[in-house]
Symmetry: C2
Subunit: 547 residues, 2 copies
């Protein structure tokens, strides 16, 4: 595990008259100048549909790494050393929180079953295939010193898709269905692959029995549910505190600070309890945008919406810049001491395994979903399946972090092969980010958007509450339509029948009723706090518009 | 120099299956929970005029330190170790930047001469007196092993006032004159005392000659002007980039990110060039609020205004919590091995020196100003002088950071006395923050605000541009009063006469003309970018309202 050390030579200059060590300041200055450059270049390239901020940052990082390598005459390309701590503690949480905060909740929950299926079973299928492929193929290339555990770790590492890059190439407005499925899968997938990875590291391979997969399943379910619940509780707590104490009437700064700190606290708490912080902070973001966001002042709403997006934006660029600069780390390339041929062979094998591993679950699971869905209008078309496969092929910082964790400190003798694994992983990450990152947007335009008919799965949105109520009435429910009264409780028989015919609608309707009757009076939310007129951007400004 | 190490036992758990070390996570979780608690308690105590957020955070930190001390059975009270790097690199810059961003520019520049006088000469007087007092008194108490350099360092350390706490106890709206003078002094004072401190550490005391004070003055002037110019250039650059590239029409996130990063970059650059980062980022904030802020979208304005304030708010609480928790560090108290009597004696002496050192420049300099100012209405009353003396007595994190820097790594044999200096400094900081922090607000009410006549110096505000123009006409200038034309150039003779009679007004008027004719067309600013209607809060929402 390499550590991020923003103060690398601190002890050496302790007795100098400077307060801060020069190398830290140089590193930070260069890094922030590059961040600045990335933002400006990213803006100038905005009209270019092949480029995006991730690729820009990655390439700027690579160039900067090359310059540093030249300046230092081949001894070092690194200004900041890649560190899992920096990544998992400070960069990933704001990105995932913002994704939860800005996600279109209705789309997300509508596709919840597909997302779970892809994120859990899909990742497991991919893991099995990639591990098996690595075991079968790596030995033929000449990588001989890896243990079974290493092969399984490779499977887990390469199964971790990159949710950050997905956010950049898929548009929530243009392709809401794909966005919610692929990004949601990415969030669940993070949890799954980290569970798999931890399991692989801790399982005693001399003592495998049949209950092991059951144990893994149990661990995963425990992790998934407790993490989600923790996130929801943290979100509700923040809503309750802000609603009860009426922070809004006093200080915007306090509200915003409290939202930020409580979100971060939920992540930390999850990590402390060895849960999945990513899942926790994602659901915390969703709950905060549904309740807490409506309890604060108008300025706090504008501020949180943009401040969270900005912080996430900076963290994303930071990560790609970081990965780019880290890629040229000369020590790793020297340590691997593999010929260019072997490097290319290993990387291509890994990449092929990633392609096959993803194809092996996207198409079967999508078609399985189509079998269950009876109406044609909700089926997933083949070209959508293709994009689902394609957009999830990018590998990112999670992959690199896991790879470092597995291979950079293994104390066995196979250091050449370990270093080779790390460099190959970096090649796969760079290649997939640059290639898929630049091609995905044009591809989506070509495959989906040019076929003028509205995107099928997107068109079948959940109807409004009024439509639902009318539907319930059509189903034979004598109902009081008076606007001011809450809708009547739906008798059991009808609920069940509806649940069978329109499961998503019914769940949504029941949730809305439960939300309006029990949740919002306690935790606030839209319509349950005094409306402040003069919103600068109106309803469209909400993190997630709700009909 | 003690280092902030958020990952203290990282190397010990490198091969465990956890990604993050548990101790880091525990530390961060506890710390962020305490931050949360401080915000909520601070809100509940808002009506209480004796308490404020700093004191709450300090006391919460002390309690948490005590609890940790009990839990660890007296071995450690620290969750995070106090570090100059964390403080100077990450916590101080946002606070000072926000202060510059939100400062009332007109008040600030109106009092610029007083601020500079207090910040430069005042600090030097205070430094000389405290050093002299320490040399004379400490030996009598029994502190014998300190060198001349140490005594001078004590003078520099105790001359550093706490601008952060000043922000909390003085209100920019109620007492704008006092706020701008005392806070402005604090910003300049930081630069002065850091220059003094660096000089004390680097001067060779065996070789003192008469040119040394001239050298010091030269260093200070160089530092002051280059730092200020760097800050102004960075601010103008951000305004120019955002105006030219028209970020606003594209992305609020990008604008906000660019403003944040460029401000931070100016601080880093100043530190890299061994300038005063505090002065640089302060002036960068002023320029950004004057130009850049007007070039961005409406949402960016609301976001930056509140996001900067929130980050600064969190950093302030963080610092006081940190200082509070650090105070009970058992190792330092053990190392000092001084009797309670000696500790109290040293602390009281230090405190008395601080009181005398400040009195020795506030009253003389204020009366000197009164002599120069001819009109009675602009003179500084005695009770204002008293508050100016009182409100600048607080010592804060800068003092602690400097004290660690001087005494925690001195490798001579006097470690007892060095540790005693650190603990005594901490006692002075705690005592002054709690006592002055809680008494200042009620005192200002009692001394100034109850005397119903409007605060004299505050009432003599700079007149509006219209008033100025009329004044110029009254002085015999034939002027075209047509509203749409720019005011005519003022002939030299009249300018000079006005400059003699109303110096501040004239400078303001000439600046306004220069600003409107040359600066704003290039860098944007109010009135030079299309007005977006529907501002949520109107002109009052500006960081600094400009008449």
């Amino acid at each position: 595990m390499s550590t991020f050390d923003p103060m690398p030579h601190l002890s050496a200059v302790q007795n100098s008259t400077d307060f801060l060590s020069t190398s830290t300041i140089i590193a930070l200055t260069v890094f922030f100048s590059l961040l600045c450059a990335c933002i400006i270049i990213g803006h100038l390239l905005e009209e270019n549909r092949w480029a995006n901020e991730s690729i820009t940052a990655l390439l700027v990082g690579l160039c900067a790494g090359a310059v540093v390598l030249l300046v230092s005459k081949g001894t070092s390309s690194q200004i900041l050393v890649f560190s899992e701590d920096l990544f998992f503690l400070y960069l990933l949480p704001p990105i995932i929180f913002n994704a939860g905060f800005q996600v279109k909740k209705k789309q997300f929950f509508k596709n919840f079953t597909i997302i779970l299926m892809f994120g859990i079973f899909g990742t497991v299928i991919s893991f099995c295939l990639i591990s098996l492929g690595a075991i079968l193929l790596f030995k033929r290339i000449g990588v001989t010193s890896l243990s079974t555990q290493d092969y399984l770790a490779v499977g887990a590492i390469l199964s971790a898709t990159d949710s950050v890059c997905t956010l950049q190439v898929l548009s929530q407005d243009e392709t809401p269905f794909l966005y919610s499925v692929v990004f949601g899968e990415g969030v669940v997938n993070d949890a799954t692959s980290i569970v798999l990875f931890n399991s692989v590291q801790s399982i005693d391979f001399s003592n495998i029995d049949a209950t092991i997969s059951l144990k893994l399943l149990g661990t995963f379910l425990y992790l998934f549910f407790t993490s989600t619940i923790l996130g929801i509780v943290a979100g509700l707590l923040s809503a309750f505190i802000i609603k009860t104490l009426y922070f809004g009437r006093h200080s915007t700064d306090r509200e915003v600070a409290l939202m930020m700190i409580m979100a971060y606290l939920s992540y930390m708490l999850a990590e402390l309890l060895s849960l999945s912080g990513i899942l926790t902070i994602f659901f915390c973001g969703i709950v905060m945008s549904h309740y807490t966001w409506h309890n604060v002042t108008e300025s706090s709403r504008v501020t949180t919406k943009h401040a969270f997006a900005t912080i996430s934006f900076i963290a994303e660029i930071f990560i790609f810049l970081y990965v780019g600069m880290d890629a040229l780390d000369i020590d790793k390339w020297k340590a691997s001491s593999a010929s260019a041929g072997t490097s290319v062979a290993v990387s291509s094998t890994m990449f092929a395994l990633v392609l096959v591993g993803r194809a092996a679950f996207v198409y079967p699971l999508a078609n399985f979903t189509n079998c269950i869905r009876k109406r044609d209008s909700t089926k997933i078309e083949f070209r959508q399946q293709f994009i689902m496969w394609w957009a999830g092929l990018m590998r990112g910082a999670v992959t690199i972090a896991l790879s470092y964790n597995q291979f950079s400190n293994s104390e066995d003798l196979s250091t050449h092969d370990s270093a080779l694994m790390i460099t190959s992983t970096i090649i796969v990450v760079l290649f997939s980010t640059v290639v898929f990152g630049s091609i995905t947007k044009p591809l989506i335009e070509a495959v989906l958007l040019r076929h003028a008919k509205p995107n099928i799965s997107d068109a079948t949105d959940i109807p409004s509450l009024e439509d639902l109520r009318i539907l319930f009435i059509e189903n034979g429910e004598p109902s009081d339509l008076a606007e001011n009264q809450p809708p009547p409780a739906v008798p059991k028989r009808s609920s069940l029948r509806l649940l069978m015919t329109h499961p998503t609608w019914t769940v949504h309707y029941l949730w809305r009723k439960f939300d309006d009757r029990f949740m919002r009076p306690v935790f606030g939310g839209r319509g349950f706090v005094p409306f402040v007129p003069g919103s600068p951007t109106g309803a469209a400004d909400e993190p997630s518009a709700r009909h």
